[in-house]
Every structure is written in structure tokens, then in C-alpha cells.
């Protein structure tokens, strides 16, 4: 019973993450086309499972399609940020040339105070709401912090006695850096990925909500919340359903990241911070 209780949060957070993720992945495949037969605006029921939105479109169909951009752009951005920032961080940490380390990290220090939502808005408007441009902008504002995090975690591992021992055993460069340092970075990285995905979903959703991103009729969860908010009291599901999807996803990822943080602290012999 106690083991079950301890597991419950994991199950809950997994369900919270998986439901929106599955909707985003499978939804676009099973959804019927939207424009076929628009109904009355803000109708409740009327042959529509979750009613209709302000344009008379079926809320359930919108929900099925809207996850693709809302989650896809954020996940893509985090992947790119880690690909670029992670590489910079690892190279900076493992190089023995101090100037290379400085050259890679200093410019990023300078970029840190740039307000992220601002950069993304300017890019989104400039490139006519291209999803690719927004994804790249969200990735770009995340690169400095990712690079610093990976560098710090890798330095922690690379300056320890284990690497010294491996070096004395004439272990190959790849064996040390990819086999040991790379692996020990994974713990802090996994915890950070969780919070970073939440943040990226927030950024993408905020830009779309402000009307600076995707077009105001695009089937996207954040756009739906923004568009239908004046009809909230008439037809709450048009706002609540997409909002719930977003909240479930970010909440689930936050819970997962929190678990990973406490676990990696446990492994380092610190008290778990729950």
C-alpha cells in the first residue's frame, strides 16, 4: 500500500503528460476536416461533443488538431536548444584551451539579459508567423542557459578524481568524455529538460495568445483560449478544453522534473528536496 502511494505521483504525472501528448500526436490523424460544416457560434451540444467555438467550429476537432503546433513547436525548440547549447557546453567544459572556453561562453553571458518574449515576438511578427521562425527563436533564447548548465555539470564531473584515474589508466579521450563525463551530465540535464519544456510551451503559447504568432484562426490550443475567451460564460468548453490540455502538459512535466531533481540530489548524497 505504501509503495503504491509513493508511486502515485509518478503515475499521475505520466498520465498528465501523456494525454496531451497523445492528443497532439494522434489527433491530427483521426480528426475530420474543420471547414466541412461550420455550426452556430458558441453552441453547446448541438451534435458537437464539446460544442462549437466563436467561428462555429467543432471544439473537439479543434482540440485534436491544436496540439500539433502548441506542443510541437515547444518540443522542437528545446531539442534544438539542447543540440546547440549542449554541444557548446560540452566542448567548453572538456577543452583544455582556456581561450576556447572563454570564446564559447562569454558571448552567451552577454546575451542572458535579453528579454525572451520580446525577441520571440519580434521574430514572429517579422517572419509572418512562420512556425519554423518561432521555433528557432524559442530555441535561441534557451541556448545560453542550456550551454551554461551543461558546462557546469560537465566541469563538475570532469574535475573529479574519477576522470583523473581514468586518465592515468590511459583511457581514450572518447572513453573519458563520452563514456563518463557525458553520462554523468545526463542527470541534471534530464531535470532541466522538464522545466525547460514547460517554459518553452509557455513562451510559444504566450506569443500565440498575444496574436503575434500564428494567425488568429489557426487551430492551436493557445490561439483557441485567446479567441474564445469572450464566450467563456456562454460556452466554457471552447476555452477550458484547450487550456486544460496545456495545463496538464506543463503540470505533468513540472512534477516529473521535480522527481528527477530530488533523485539526482539523492545520488549525490544530499537530502532530497521535495
Amino acid at each position: 500500500m505504501r509503495a503504491l502511494l509513493r508511486r502515485t505521483p509518478l503515475v499521475v504525472s505520466a498520465v498528465l503528460v501523456l494525454v496531451p501528448l497523445l492528443v497532439a500526436l494522434v489527433g491530427p490523424v483521426v480528426a475530420r476536416s474543420l471547414d466541412s460544416r461550420p455550426g452556430l457560434p458558441y453552441a453547446a451540444g448541438d451534435g458537437h461533443f464539446l460544442g462549437t467555438d466563436g467561428l462555429g467550429r467543432d471544439v473537439f476537432e479543434l482540440l485534436l488538431i491544436g496540439g500539433r503546433t502548441a506542443l510541437g513547436m515547444a518540443l522542437g525548440a528545446v531539442a534544438i536548444a539542447y543540440l546547440v547549447g549542449g554541444t557548446i557546453g560540452l566542448v567548453a567544459a572538456s577543452t583544455r584551451r582556456r581561450w576556447l572556453d572563454e570564446l564559447l561562453i562569454r558571448p552567451l553571458d552577454i546575451l542572458l539579459p535579453l528579454p525572451s518574449l520580446l525577441v520571440i515576438s519580434v521574430v514572429a511578427v517579422g517572419w509572418r508567423a512562420s512556425p519554423l521562425a518561432i521555433t528557432l527563436a524559442v530555441a535561441a533564447v534557451n541556448i545560453p542557459t542550456v550551454a551554461r548548465l551543461v558546462r557546469a555539470a560537465a566541469l563538475d564531473a570532469a574535475s573529479g578524481p574519477v576522470v583523473e584515474a581514468l586518465r592515468m589508466q590511459r583511457e581514450s579521450w572518447a572513453g573519458i568524455h563520452l563514456g563518463y563525463v557525458g553520462r554523468s551530465v545526463l542527470g541534471p540535464v534530464a531535470a532541466d529538460v522538464g522545466t525547460r519544456i514547460t517554459l518553452a510551451v509557455f513562451l510559444v503559447a504566450s506569443v500565440n495568445f498575444l496574436g503575434l504568432g500564428l494567425s488568429p484562426t489557426a487551430p492551436d490550443w493557445a490561439v483557441s483560449v485567446s479567441r474564445n475567451r469572450e464566450g467563456l460564460l456562454l460556452q466554457p468548453w471552447a476555452v477550458l478544453a484547450p487550456a486544460l490540455m496545456l495545463v496538464a502538459f506543463t503540470l505533468g512535466f513540472n512534477l516529473l522534473a521535480d522527481r528527477l531533481v530530488s533523485r539526482s540530489q539523492l545520488r549525490r548524497g544530499l537530502e532530497p528536496a521535495r
Partner: protein, 315 residues
């Protein structure tokens, strides 16, 4: 301490120079300019070209940057392409509402975040800690605009207790109508409190496990004195650093909140500037924001160094 401050300030100066160049490049890269946006429907291509010349939009980018940078150093942010007035006036007109909003939020957030964080961290793993930790974790996962939409629906539309927009009011009305501030601050405060208090809690927990605290306990120093004299300064460091980072979150929140409540602040001016391709306005506002973020970061680092004088700048 003094050499740390000097180094940190030098870094800030370099940051400022690079950021202003970056702001210029980013906005200059925007495809389509103000001449395109305003007149393609009514003017012939030749006339658009003439207007472009008049606005100085066809000069080489480097020359425009030099002009702009000279102006900025002299305290002149340029002229709006749409209204024709100085950008500085637009900054002045919009800064009040945003500043009031941000300061009001911080005034609520800071004491609450410190209090909650220390309360939760002081009895790690206890019932109160678990309650505070799970509530802050859950709340920090809800996007600002969802909170805003729900609060407006309940408190303005359903119950009619609080105004839903600022339409027709300016920053000066705030002192006479504080009710205007309640919902925007409520939206902004939720996430910030959660993020900050979690950092303060982690700092408290770490400090409580440190050897100097264990030793102080052995010597019989009273618990309250340990918490206030030894734990609090150390616990505040991650909080202050997080505050500088939260500045970014808070600014994003301010953009969203200003849009929802139609607050005539910085974000509103910025969004309309971006939409109209009014490049000087966007440049000016972005620069002011970047400088503010820079100063917040500088201040946070200096405060941390004062609290715990071991933070190193140069690794």
C-alpha cells in the same frame, strides 16, 4: 568586494554595447518596413519609394546604426515613423503604468516568497513543507493567460466585483482607482511567488544542513537566531538570483497581462510598434527594457556578493 563590483560593472558596460547593437540588428532585419506596412494599398510603388527616402529607410544599415547609436548616447531615441513624435515621449507615456504594475507585484511577491520559502524549508519534509511545496509546484505550471482569462470570467463578468479592463484610464488614475490593479497583480503574482519561494526553500534547506549551522546548534545558539542570522542570508542568495531570472518571466507576464487588461503600458506600445514596423519605437522600447534587465542582473549579483561574499565573477 570593491574589485568584484568593478569587474561586474565592466561586464555590464560590455553587455550594454553588444545588446544595443543586437537590438538594432534584430529590428533592422524585420522584413518589410513602415513604408510598406502603411501605404502599399493606397500608393504607387514609386510613391512608396519616395516615402522611404524621406524616412531615411534606404540608407545602408551601418550608417543608420551609427546615426542611431550617436543619438542614443546623446539621449535621443529617434523619431517614430508612424506618429512623427520623439520615441522618448512614447517611452515616457507608457513607462508609468508598467512600472506601477511591476512594483505593486514585487511588493506583494517578495515578502510572501521569502516567508513561504523559509517556513517550508525550516521543517523540511513536514506537513506544512509538503503542502506549500506541492501548491507552489502546481501553481507555477499554469500559464499566466489561462489564470487571467479565468479570473476575469469569475470576478469581473460573473460577480462584477472588479473592472475587467483599463480602457479609458491611464497610469495616473491608479491612485484613485486601486481596484484596477487587483486582477493584473493577482495574475502576475501567482507564478512569481511560486518560482521564488521554491528557490528560497532550497536555499534554506541547504543552509540548514551546512556545517556552520550544525556547529551553531551544538553551541546552543537559539533556533530563531540561527534562522535569522545564519540561514536567512544564505537562503536569500538563490532567491535573489532567481529574482533576476524571474525578471524575464515577470516581463513576459507583464506583456500578456497588459494585452488582456488593455493597460496602456510598455508592452502595449511595443506590440503596436512591432505590428506597424515602427522600427525606431521598437528599438527604443527594446533598448530600455534590455537596460532595465541588465541593471536588475547587475543589482542582483552585487546583492548576492554582499550577502555571501564568495560569489566569483571570473572563473
Amino acid at each position: 568586494m570593491r574589485s568584484y563590483a568593478a569587474q561586474r560593472a565592466a561586464l555590464a558596460v560590455v553587455q550594454l554595447a553588444v545588446l544595443s547593437a543586437l537590438v538594432f540588428v534584430l529590428t533592422a532585419l524585420l522584413p518589410g518596413d513602415a513604408a510598406d506596412m502603411r501605404y502599399t494599398e493606397t500608393l504607387s510603388p514609386a510613391q512608396v519609394e519616395q516615402l522611404r527616402e524621406q524616412l531615411g529607410l534606404n540608407q545602408p544599415a551601418l550608417e543608420r546604426f551609427a546615426d542611431w547609436a550617436r543619438g542614443v548616447v546623446a539621449g535621443d531615441l529617434g523619431t517614430s515613423l508612424v506618429s512623427g513624435g520623439p520615441v522618448l515621449d512614447i517611452v515616457r507615456a507608457s513607462v508609468g503604468a508598467t512600472l506601477v504594475l511591476t512594483l505593486a507585484t514585487l511588493a506583494v511577491v517578495l515578502p510572501l516568497a521569502l516567508g513561504l520559502g523559509i517556513l517550508a524549508g525550516a521543517r523540511e519534509g513536514g506537513r506544512l513543507d509538503r503542502a506549500i511545496s506541492s501548491v507552489t509546484l502546481a501553481l507555477s505550471a499554469i500559464p499566466d493567460f489561462v489564470v487571467a482569462v479565468l479570473l476575469v470570467a469569475v470576478f469581473s463578468l460573473r460577480l462584477g466585483w472588479l473592472p475587467a479592463t483599463w480602457v479609458g484610464s491611464t497610469g495616473a488614475d491608479l491612485l484613485t482607482h486601486p481596484a484596477l490593479l487587483v486582477l493584473p497583480v493577482a495574475v502576475l503574482f501567482g507564478r512569481t511567488v511560486c518560482l521564488l519561494s521554491r528557490q528560497v526553500r532550497a536555499g534554506t534547506v541547504n543552509a540548514l544542513h551546512a556545517e556552520y549551522v550544525v556547529q551553531a546548534r551544538r553551541l546552543g545558539v537559539p533556533r530563531r537566531r540561527i534562522l535569522l542570522r545564519h540561514v536567512l542570508p544564505n537562503a536569500a542568495v538563490p532567491g535573489v538570483q532567481e529574482l533576476a531570472r524571474t525578471g524575464d518571466t515577470l516581463l513576459g507576464g507583464v506583456l500578456v497581462v497588459e494585452a488582456i487588461f488593455a493597460i496602456p503600458g510598455f508592452a502595449t506600445a511595443l506590440v503596436s510598434g512591432v505590428e506597424a514596423r515602427d522600427v525606431p519605437v521598437v528599438q527604443g522600447l527594446t533598448l530600455v527594457l534590455a537596460v532595465a534587465a541588465l541593471l536588475i542582473n547587475l543589482g542582483a549579483d552585487l546583492v548576492c556578493n554582499r550577502l555571501v561574499p564568495r560569489t566569483e565573477l571570473l572563473r
